[in-house]
């Protein structure tokens, strides 16, 4: 449940950003971070919790995709 997923900020509108995850776009609150377009953010439950370095964001994405294949099949209403 504490899984946070990294994504890249595509646009910012007030304290809400459009963030790209694996090609999916979602609206994410920026209320907890100072972030700008192009930044990678760690997103948890619809909220960016930290700005993140690009390389680590990419590593984490690869790992989460691998874990998903094993853990996700029957999951519903997931956090990410």
């Amino acid at each position: 449940m504490c899984v946070a997923v990294p994504g890249e900020i595509l646009s910012v509108d007030g304290d809400v950003a459009t963030v790209d995850f694996f090609g999916n776009r979602m609206r994410v609150s920026l209320g907890l971070v100072d972030a700008k377009i192009g930044d990678h953010v760690l997103v948890h439950a619809g909220c960016a919790i930290e700005v993140m370095r690009r390389e680590q964001a990419e590593e984490l994405l690869v790992l989460l995709a691998e874990l998903d294949e094993v853990l996700a099949p029957e999951r519903e209403g997931r956090v990410r």
Binding site: C2, V3, L32, C47, L60, V62, L63, R75, G77
Partner: protein, 349 residues
């Protein structure tokens, strides 16, 4: 250090027996995925800790959520993990099958719009989680207050991780070092472990999730234990700052106060819960005093699993009577529970 160098270093390792606890469920999964145990010397044991917020939610809390969901005037929301965990009688999934109003949301913040559009119902989010999730609920409550919403509440079962680690250390269970959680640490900061590290003379390392990060962290911890050091190391500086996320901490402080709370199968841990402060009680759906926690199946060893005393696979019911489809305990029900993770990876030890 490259992965090969670390593995080489471990091949010549001649340290004492060391038990390292990984606190976070995602670390547990990443360790199994990466086959990390097979790369370690026999003397280094990895244990899974209490890092699943759903698994430690007491029965009385689920009962209260079910009660709210059954009310005609009420709509209940949570994350998917909460669905199958049983209270003293039923789970939210059982209640839903009986007509209760339960829905799963990706973000608690979506509730602001839902509540505004449907003033005829009370909308309650079953707010479970550790420090990673708690600031999101704090933001929800703040925004609800600002927009004058009166039909939005949260039912909290929020827990903080440090008091639980302290309990593990006090209980005399032999954990020598901690692989600190990645995303909880993004909020609380790596410095948050310093006091425990010093008082109990145990090293902590915050790590990312890739196999080389985890191996490096384990090496770091093993060397620290062998040399009697109790450093706090941050090997995840790309996402975790020493001081954590100050904005999130300020918001938490503003909205919540610590209090005693029950961890399923463990009992009351002082100061380990977060409860809405008095100025926000209008948004509380009745979160205090949900302490009763009768065990569902007395033979379930979840308590020992959570405290790192046994591996999930050492429970006699693991994989036979107890599977994710027919879970006997909360550690098997949740995606982040140690037993569930081990089962899905067909956990080799």
């Amino acid at each position: 250090m490259t992965m090969r160098e670390i593995i080489e270093d471990f091949r010549h390792w001649d340290g004492p027996d060391i038990r390292i606890m990984e606190v976070c469920g995602t670390h547990t999964a990443a360790i199994l995925q990466g086959g990390i145990r097979s790369l370690l010397p026999k003397s280094i044991t990895l244990l899974s800790g209490p890092g699943c917020p759903v698994c430690i939610t007491p029965a009385a809390y689920i009962d209260k959520a079910v009660e709210l969901a059954m009310r005609e005037d009420c709509r209940l929301y949570s994350f998917g993990d909460m669905l199958k965990v049983k209270g003293s009688v039923r789970s939210l999934a059982d209640a839903k099958a009986e007509g209760a109003h339960v829905r799963f949301l990706y973000s608690p913040l979506d509730l602001l719009e839902i509540a505004e559009k449907d003033p005829g119902h009370l909308h309650v989010f079953a707010a479970v989680g550790f420090e990673t999730t708690a600031p999101v609920y704090a933001m929800l409550v703040k925004k609800a207050q600002e927009s004058g919403l009166r039909n939005l509440k949260i039912l909290t079962a929020l827990r903080t991780i440090l008091p639980a680690l302290e309990l593990i250390l006090d209980s005399g269970d032999p954990v020598d070092a901690f692989l600190a959680p990645g995303h909880v640490s993004a909020i609380i900061g790596s410095d948050a472990y310093r006091s425990l590290a010093q008082r109990y003379n145990r090293p902590f390392t915050v790590a990312g999730f890739s196999p080389d990060h985890i191996l490096l962290a384990i090496r770091q911890l093993a060397h620290a234990v062998r040399e009697g050091r109790h450093d706090v190391c941050n090997l995840y500086p790309g996402a975790v700052h020493q001081e954590g996320n100050r904005k999130a901490q300020a918001l938490l402080e503003n909205v919540f106060e610590p209090g005693p709370s029950v961890w399923r199968g463990i009992g009351i841990i002082p100061e380990s819960g977060l409860f809405l402060r008095e100025s926000f009680t209008a948004f509380d759906a009745g979160s205090r005093g949900l302490d009763s926690d009768p065990p569902a199946n007395p033979a379930c060893r979840c308590t020992d699993v959570i405290l790192g005393r046994i591996h999930p696979a050492s429970c006699p019911m693991f994989g036979t009577v107890c599977t994710p489809q027919e879970a006997q305990g909360p550690c098997m029900v949740s995606d982040e529970g140690s037993c569930g993770i081990w089962y899905r990876f067909r956990g080799e030890i």
